[in-house]
Structure formats: structure tokens, C-alpha cells
């Protein structure tokens, strides 16, 4: 596989691309410089007729766009602050894992099922069961999801949006484990 990266491509973008393409064959990469004011760059990965688009902004990180939408005026559906996490997520998408569940989160963090089980304080089988349910976002307790996200160092927020306003239904605090 060959791809050309412009000489002035920022280091984080180069690093991100190299991490994505490692171990992939048949992957085409297109790199496009954006606006000078924003300093943004566009990276398109093409494989088997599918395009996965990422926008990098120096102050925001890597924005991953919905690969199943070609809508004008779309924004990223996921944002990653570092190249390693972004690259792992893109590899998942390129392999067909479009939805992000606990398994995908765990793999992005580089944490094994056994490690996650130890962090959360449950059996590995429970993590496996939860991962299979969370892939379809059904059949699991919200409290369990909240605990896992917090133990991975994050916080869970659920927002209900209506035309005339929005309401935060849930906002957990950050967990003890820092990423």
C-alpha cells in the first residue's frame, strides 16, 4: 500500500496515519490540508469502496465522521484528543465496527477484559456478557455502564434534547482511574 503525505503535514497527523495503516493492506489514504486559520487537516481512508473521514484540528484533536452519512454540514460523531486512540477507533471502523460499545471503548484504551473486570470489581464473564449487550445498547443496567465508564476515568452524561430546550438527566462524576 502506498500513500503520499504532504511534507507540511503536522506531526500528530503523520503519527495518526502511520498507526492506522500499520497492519492494513489494500487501504488508500488521502490527506488534504484545510484552512490556514483553523490549521485543520482532512484524512480520508478508503477501503473496499468505503470512505472513513477524519478531521484534525490542532486545538480539538481528531474528529471522526459518520462513515454512513454523506450529509452536507455534518460534524464529527466522535472526538479523540490523541492519535493512538483515534487510530485504534479508525481501525475498528475499517473492520466494520461502526457502533461504539464498551468492547470498542476498552480496546481503544488498550485494556483487556480481565483488566477491566479487576478495575470494576467483577468477574471477567460479567464483562464479556455486558460487552455483548452493550453492543446493541439493550439489556444492561445504566448503573453498570456508569460504573464502567467512571472506572475507566470518564463520566457519563445523558441529555434529553427537545426543540425548546435540553435537560441533563444524568451526569456522573469522574472516576478515580485517570487515563
Amino acid at each position: 500500500m502506498e500513500y503520499l503525505i504532504p511534507k507540511n503535514t503536522p506531526a500528530p497527523v503523520k503519527d495518526f496515519i502511520h498507526q492506522v495503516v500499520a497492519g492494513f493492506s489494500g487501504l488508500q489514504v488521502e490527506v488534504e490540508e484545510g484552512g490556514a486559520a483553523a490549521g485543520n487537516w482532512w484524512i480520508d481512508f478508503l477501503v473496499k469502496g468505503r470512505r472513513v473521514t477524519v478531521e484534525w484540528r490542532p486545538t480539538k484533536g481528531f474528529g471522526v465522521y459518520d462513515s454512513e452519512s454523506d450529509g452536507y454540514g455534518d460534524r464529527p460523531v466522535e472526538v479523540f484528543r490523541n492519535a493512538q486512540w483515534a487510530a485504534r477507533r479508525i481501525q475498528q471502523i475499517l473492520k466494520g465496527h461502526f457502533r461504539i460499545g464498551i468492547r470498542e471503548l476498552r480496546e481503544i484504551f488498550g485494556v483487556s477484559q480481565a483488566d477491566l473486570a479487576a478495575i470494576v470489581g467483577v468477574q471477567q464473564a460479567a464483562v464479556s456478557k455486558f460487552e455483548s449487550r452493550s453492543s446493541t445498547m439493550t439489556g444492561f443496567k445504566l448503573e453498570t455502564l456508569e460504573k464502567i465508564v467512571e472506572q475507566l476515568g470518564g463520566s457519563l452524561e445523558i441529555v434529553a434534547r427537545f426543540p425548546n430546550g435540553e435537560f441533563r438527566l444524568l451526569h456522573s462524576r469522574h472516576g478515580a482511574l485517570q487515563s
Binding site: G35, T53, E55, V77
Partner: protein, 117 residues
């Protein structure tokens, strides 16, 4: 209306409005039309600071503008499109394979394509 339907309506409105006579006017025409329509029909509040998909159509960001190959034609790249704006106020929205999705001439009657030939 879903996003696709709303975008079609936005294009219809853009086509009916007077042509712009400069790149700045053209950008304002595009962004004001999109923002105004989405305020009324998207059901999603305008949130320019968030960089996450929220179901609303957003115009190209002004800071993502670059000039095409040393000319004074402006290009705004977005996920699946490039928005071209010529100095005479002409606008074109093309997909990444350069198929024209929308075109509006500037006030002098020339389209973006006239500048590229």
C-alpha cells in the same frame, strides 16, 4: 423533515435569493440561509462551539477556508463536500468526486466553473 429534506429546501431557498456579488457576500448568503432555516426547522439549538454531530446542518466554518491553487477562489472542505466560492459571488457545492450538488451564479451571471476553465 430529515437532514436530506432540509438541505434540499435550503438549496431551493438559496436558488431563489438574489445573487451575491462578492465572495464575502456569497459566504454570508450561504451561512445565513442555512442557520436561519435550521433555527426554524431542525429542532436543534445553534451550537457553534460544540464540535459534535447534533442533527443540525452547519455551514462551512470560516476558518477552514483556503484558496484554490494560488487563485482567489475559496474552498471550504467538509466531510463529504467542498464548497467553492468565487470572487464574483458564485457558489458551488461539490461532492468529493467533483459532482456538482448545488450551483448559483454570481451577480454577473458567471458560475464557479467559469473561473476554473
Amino acid at each position: 423533515m430529515d437532514k436530506k429534506e432540509r438541505l434540499q429546501k435550503i438549496f431551493e431557498i438559496m436558488a431563489s435569493l438574489p445573487c451575491a456579488s462578492s465572495a464575502e457576500e456569497a459566504y454570508e448568503l450561504l451561512s445565513d440561509t442555512i442557520d436561519g432555516f435550521e433555527d426554524k426547522h431542525s429542532g436543534v439549538p445553534y451550537n457553534p462551539d460544540s464540535w459534535r454531530e447534533d442533527g443540525r446542518i452547519y455551514p462551512p466554518q470560516p476558518d477552514s477556508m483556503k484558496f484554490y491553487q494560488g487563485t482567489n477562489i475559496r474552498i471550504y472542505r467538509s466531510k463529504a463536500h467542498r464548497t467553492w466560492v468565487a470572487p464574483n459571488g458564485a457558489i458551488e457545492i461539490r461532492d468529493l468526486s467533483d459532482q456538482i450538488c448545488f450551483s448559483k451564479a454570481g451577480s454577473d451571471g458567471r458560475t464557479v466553473n467559469c473561473f476554473l476553465v
